[in-house]
């Protein structure tokens, strides 16, 4: 019942384990408790709750060129496989997405929770589900990257008040291209766009050209991003594709920035082209898709570290802009989920300390990490 999606490494491991441990009747048995072979998120149900499912590495590169948390990427490299835990908030979201009527305006979902409880991972799970379903995924990995630590700010040619961020925009366009190659060929532009004096994109050209234009002419990358967003919004109601807007750290769009103009006056988010265009996406005046966002305190600026509720992190402006939305709380690990995670680490031989393998060790880990996924990950690292 297992080992369909896995390749040679797993089979070899299974052979080794069967040779080494004769007393275990089925070598795959420990795996079965914490793993499922369902690699399609669409088929995940409550039955699979608490279990890990793995994504093939090529798919990871295609679907998540950016957007996985850094530590998770390191884990993928170490374990040579990407295993994500199925948790209740994600299943809830799947149910909502399945039952949502695409003719209605886009519903906005806000995933919130304490630090390190797995909001970004839930978002990635949802993205994987949608990409399997064939949706067009517009994934902004971390909106905070757009409002801080920006080296170059250009004055926008389109609108004198606004400021461009060529580096961030081009990086995002590159990743967007990787994840949605086939869509970019099919979708056609509906208007003619002028990039500066000489270059222009005609009507009816595939969107891929706009993206390439943004990549080659870095100066107009932010405008290219704006064009892409506008086109997708206008065309999503036609029904030829479903659009998922996934934004991580959406509270960055309505907070403050750490950027300064040349005359040392602070920049407010509206003055950034990228942020302005993204805010337009966030409004629910378009149909044919959904908006899933995450609040993040870790990268947020000028917010206390104990804040995690939407009210606190979004501020009044953001809350009004996103209202109404469906809030989804991501809690710490339940005892069952904790056992599953612990079993996964044990099985991958990540916990080397001999005391970590005992019951007491498990209780100790649970106490010290407080069942917080990030704490557990950090604790298990040195062990």
């Amino acid at each position: 019942q297992l080992e369909h999606g896995y390749g040679l490494p797993t089979a070899a491991r299974a052979c080794l384990s069967s040779v080494s441990s004769q007393d275990v009747p089925t070598p795959e048995k420990p795996r079965a408790v914490f793993h499922t072979s369902e690699s399609d998120p669409a088929k995940h149900t409550e039955h699979h709750e608490g279990r890990h499912y793995s994504i093939a590495l090529e798919e990871v590169k295609a679907v998540f060129p950016h957007g996985l948390p850094y530590r998770f990427q390191q884990q993928i490299q170490t374990f040579n496989e990407a295993c994500v835990m199925v948790r209740r908030p994600a299943l809830e979201l799947f149910a909502y997405l399945r039952s949502s009527n695409l003719a209605h305006p886009a519903v906005r979902y806000v995933i919130y929770g304490e630090r390190g409880t797995g909001k970004t991972m839930t978002l990635c799970h949802v993205i994987h589900y949608c990409s399997r379903q064939g949706w067009l995924v517009l994934h902004i990995p971390d909106a905070h990257l757009w409002v801080k630590n920006c080296r170059e700010l250009l004055q926008s040619s389109y609108n004198k008040d606004r400021l461009d961020q060529p580096l961030q925009a081009s990086a995002w366009l590159k990743n967007f291209k990787i994840s949605n190659e086939h869509f970019l060929r099919e979708i056609k532009t509906q208007k003619k766009y002028m990039w500066g004096k000489r270059e222009s994109t005609e009507e009816g050209r595939p969107l891929g050209e706009v993206v390439d234009q943004g990549l080659t002419r870095v100066r107009s990358a932010s405008d290219a991003v704006g064009v892409v967003l506008k086109e997708l919004k206008q065309q999503s109601h036609r029904g030829s594709f479903q659009l998922l807007v996934a934004v991580d750290g959406v509270n960055a769009l309505w907070g403050r920035t750490t950027l300064k103009k040349e005359d040392k006056s602070p920049v407010s988010p509206e003055e950034l082209t990228l942020v302005y265009n993204l805010r337009k996406m966030m409004r629910n005046d378009w149909t044919g898709g959904a908006v899933v966002t995450t609040l993040s305190q870790t990268g947020s600026l000028f917010k206390p570290s104990s804040a995690y509720l939407p009210q606190e992190l979004l501020g009044k402006e953001g809350f009004d802009a996103l209202d109404p939305f469906v809030p989804i709380l991501v809690p710490n690990y339940s005892p069952r989920e904790f056992e599953s995670c612990y079993g996964y680490y044990l099985e991958r031989k990540w916990l080397q300390h001999e005391k970590a393998r005992t019951e007491d060790g498990k209780a100790e880990l649970q106490f010290l990490s407080g069942s917080n996924p990030r704490q557990l990950d950090r604790l298990a690292g040195p062990l």
């Binding site: 104990s306 007491d360 209780a363 100790e364 649970q366 106490f367 010290l368 990490s369 407080g370 917080n372 704490q375 604790l379």
Partner: protein, 349 residues
């Protein structure tokens, strides 16, 4: 080259330390008379009866008349009998003609050798008594002395008793002789002699009362404990039948103690007793810093857990140091130094 001008300091040779001052008997007697007179004066001053003025009354009076904020009790003003103040010293061991009184004076360690002789005499007498009993076919008395509750005098105590220095070797020989004496069936005489050299070991430090478990409205057993560490004080209430959650001042421990080290400190009492996931705890803490609060809560939890646990485990906890109050506090800054220990930068010139 001739030295013309010299100072008396240079002329005076380096006088080596001549040892502790020797007090003559007359001096001590005078001190005792002065002490008694002073005692009567003090009693008069305080309005008490001079005849029935005890040492405790003296201490209280002195503490009242000369209040001192010094921490060291030995440094405060005190008025005690001269025998307690001046250390015991040997009187002169020889008479006016220069002849020593004791016959073993020229051995150098007269009291030690005389003691050894005495003990050996007792041993011989015990053996003779034993032989007598065997000759008369009487049953030998076998009274087991309680060796567990007593110990021999230490070398320092023996030195104080004999008023002369001993070497380790001498001391061990004496103890061996005593043990040999004890091994024989002893009679009364030897008991009294041996008691002079043995001391009772205090049974155990004061028995700390362990509070019984209390029950709250839901019927869940709980117990409280208090702890202090370095100006932080904490109270912990440990409930039974829990899931291992801990709340501090209303917040979860993960929020209140972001540092792993503090959480490990909190974990320690439960881990020691293997009860990690069994108790719920609610704590309140104030004062101190991050580490001090963690230590205070740890002590409070350990004290609360005593009620849930057998006496043997309480003893284990005590030996593990979970129940001892940490006496370390911030050391005082001294004048002339930058901190408690750090001196100012030393400049050569």
């Amino acid at each position: 080259l001739r030295l013309i001008h010299t100072t008396t300091a240079v002329q005076r040779r380096n006088v080596g330390a001549s040892g502790p001052e020797k007090y003559t008997e007359a001096f001590i007697k005078k001190q005792i008379e002065e002490f008694n007179l002073g005692k009567r004066h003090l009693a008069n001053m305080m309005g008490e009866d001079p005849e029935t003025f005890t040492q405790e009354d003296i201490d209280r009076a002195i503490a009242y008349l000369f209040p001192s904020g010094l921490f060291d009790k030995q440094a405060r003003p005190m008025m005690k009998h001269p025998t307690e103040i001046f250390p015991e010293q040997r009187k002169i061991q020889w008479g006016e003609d220069g002849r020593p009184f004791h016959f073993l004076f020229y051995t150098g360690k007269q009291s030690y050798y005389s003691l050894m002789h005495e003990t050996y005499e007792k041993l011989l007498s015990a053996q003779k008594y034993q032989d007598q009993l065997i000759a008369q076919d009487l049953p030998l008395q076998k009274e087991k002395r309680n060796l567990a509750g007593s110990r021999w005098l230490t070398k320092i105590e023996l030195e104080e008793m004999l008023l002369e220095r001993l070497s380790d070797d001498d001391y061990s020989r004496f103890i061996q002789l005593l043990q040999k004496l004890v091994a024989l069936p002893c009679s009364d005489i030897e008991e009294k002699y041996i008691q002079k050299f043995s001391k009772e070991v205090p049974v155990q430090m004061q028995k700390v009362l362990i509070e019984p478990l209390q029950h709250d409205e839901r019927g869940v057993a709980f117990s409280t404990g208090e702890g202090r560490r370095k100006t932080a004080s904490a109270t912990a209430v440990v409930y039974d039948n829990g899931t291992g959650k801990m709340t501090v001042n209303g917040k979860d421990i993960l929020h209140y103690f972001p540092v792993l080290q503090d959480r490990e400190q909190l974990l320690f009492p439960f881990q020691f007793l293997d009860r990690i996931g069994k108790h719920d705890t609610v704590c309140t803490v104030s004062g101190g810093g991050r580490s001090a609060q963690a230590g205070a809560i740890r002590l409070a939890c350990a004290k609360a857990l005593r009620s849930f646990v057998t006496e043997k485990e309480v003893e284990f906890m005590r030996q593990a140091g979970l129940l001892t109050v940490d006496p370390r506090v911030k050391e005082r800054k001294k004048p002339g130094q930058e901190g408690a220990r750090r001196k100012f930068t030393w400049k050569k010139r």
